[in-house]
Amino acid sequence: MWQRASSWVAEAAAVFVKDWRCEFRTRYALNTLALFAFTTLVVISASLGPLGTSREQSFAVLPVLLWVILLFAASAGLPRGFVQEEETHTATALRLAAKPSALFAGKLLYGVTLLFALETFVAPVYCAMVSLKIQGPGLLALTLAVAGYGLAAGSTLIAAIIAQAQGRSTLFAVLAFPVLLPLLLLAVELTRNAVAGVPAGVALVQLLLYDAVVTIIGLMLFPVVWNP
């Protein structure tokens, strides 16, 4: 039992290390995410003007825009994890060599770390550029971590489902809407709480539950969609 678990963890770790090694050599996802995030950051901050917004507007609009930036940047980079395996025909070797659930876990871990790297860059720059004052920075960091994990998990799951289909970009948008909508609504609510400096409330529990459900569904569903 322990040996099987150890082998599963080693397989997931091997996929994670391989993905980052390939990423460091091509910098495809990093560049895509960074460029997308930078462009949207500049557009939003330029549109709002150098003086930023009023406190009421800040509370209503700015948390939403932060998650719009993160969603679109993630949508541009995260689905590549599985789609690229199909496009470059490396999926065949992976199907024969890897346990599907370990492969999913490795890809998920890669997506999560990629998104955390993006959030580390985007969140402080965004807050500075739009003069967003955060009363509860601890809650914001927690929200970015928990919702970022959910965003990566949801995107990885959808990417796995669409990888073998045609018209992948359209399919991603269609499937992402129902899967990611609850996550984004909760993330925005928690970010507003962080801005206002009020406690997280039940939204944080709901977000943690969302993460757990998406992870479990992914681990259970992935072998079915991955193998013939």
Partner: protein, 204 residues
């Protein structure tokens, strides 16, 4: 009953309206080769993908045994060794890194990959994306033998290989068969392969 065997009976597979395989039957056991021939589009690669568990047949059964134990499709998929033209590797990684990665997935140390690379005469430090077509074929052989499979599925196994490359891969196949392994070899025309027990011509 042999310890290692794969038997398929009445395999059919369609792609839309096109029937690629229609009721194909065959078997191969320890130390034997099943040679599958047929023109382009006759279903050789489809048959091998079904045997590997990469495609599910529409009809028919596949029964596989290894070490006296029956394998289901999932176990068969993880245990076969496959050489096929559409088998690709990570172009950003070197040949050795590719084998190390797949070795980790299969629970083998990097030394196993290095041993196979040395055997086929392939430089381990060259990026997979920079390999010639013949070198890629050598890497496919290394990948297929990495986990010491009992069943080898070889789709045009000597394609693009130069004379030394073909000689060393034939040696590897002979050693595999001598150790009690079995192989299904698919090629458009009949080729000289030792230990051929059965011939199957598709599209005839």
């Amino acid at each position: 009953m042999p310890d290692n065997q794969i038997r398929f009976d009445g395999l059919s597979r369609r792609f839309g309206r096109l029937a690629v395989l229609a009721g194909v039957t065959g078997e191969v056991a320890d130390g034997e080769v099943l040679l599958v021939t047929g023109s382009n589009g006759s279903g050789k690669s489809t048959l091998l993908k079904c045997l590997a568990g990469l495609l599910a047949p529409d009809k028919g059964t596949i029964a596989s045994r290894e070490g006296g134990q029956s394998l289901d499709a999932t176990e068969r998929r993880r245990r076969v060794g496959l050489v096929a033209p559409d088998l690709a590797f990570y172009e950003e990684l070197t040949a050795a890194e590719n084998l190390t990665f797949f070795g980790r997935l299969r629970g083998f140390p990097p030394a196993r990959g290095a041993e196979l690379l040395a055997r086929v005469g392939l430089p381990g430090d060259r990026l997979a994306g920079a390999l010639s077509s013949g070198m890629r074929q050598r890497l496919r052989w290394c990948w297929a033998l990495l986990h010491r499979p009992r069943l080898l599925l070889l789709d045009e196994p000597f394609q693009n290989l130069d004379a030394p490359g073909e000689a060393v891969t034939r040696e590897l196949l002979d050693e595999h068969l001598a150790a009690g392994g079995l192989a299904v070899v698919a090629n458009p025309s009949s080729i000289a392969v030792s230990h051929v027990a059965t011939r199957l011509e598709l599209g005839s």
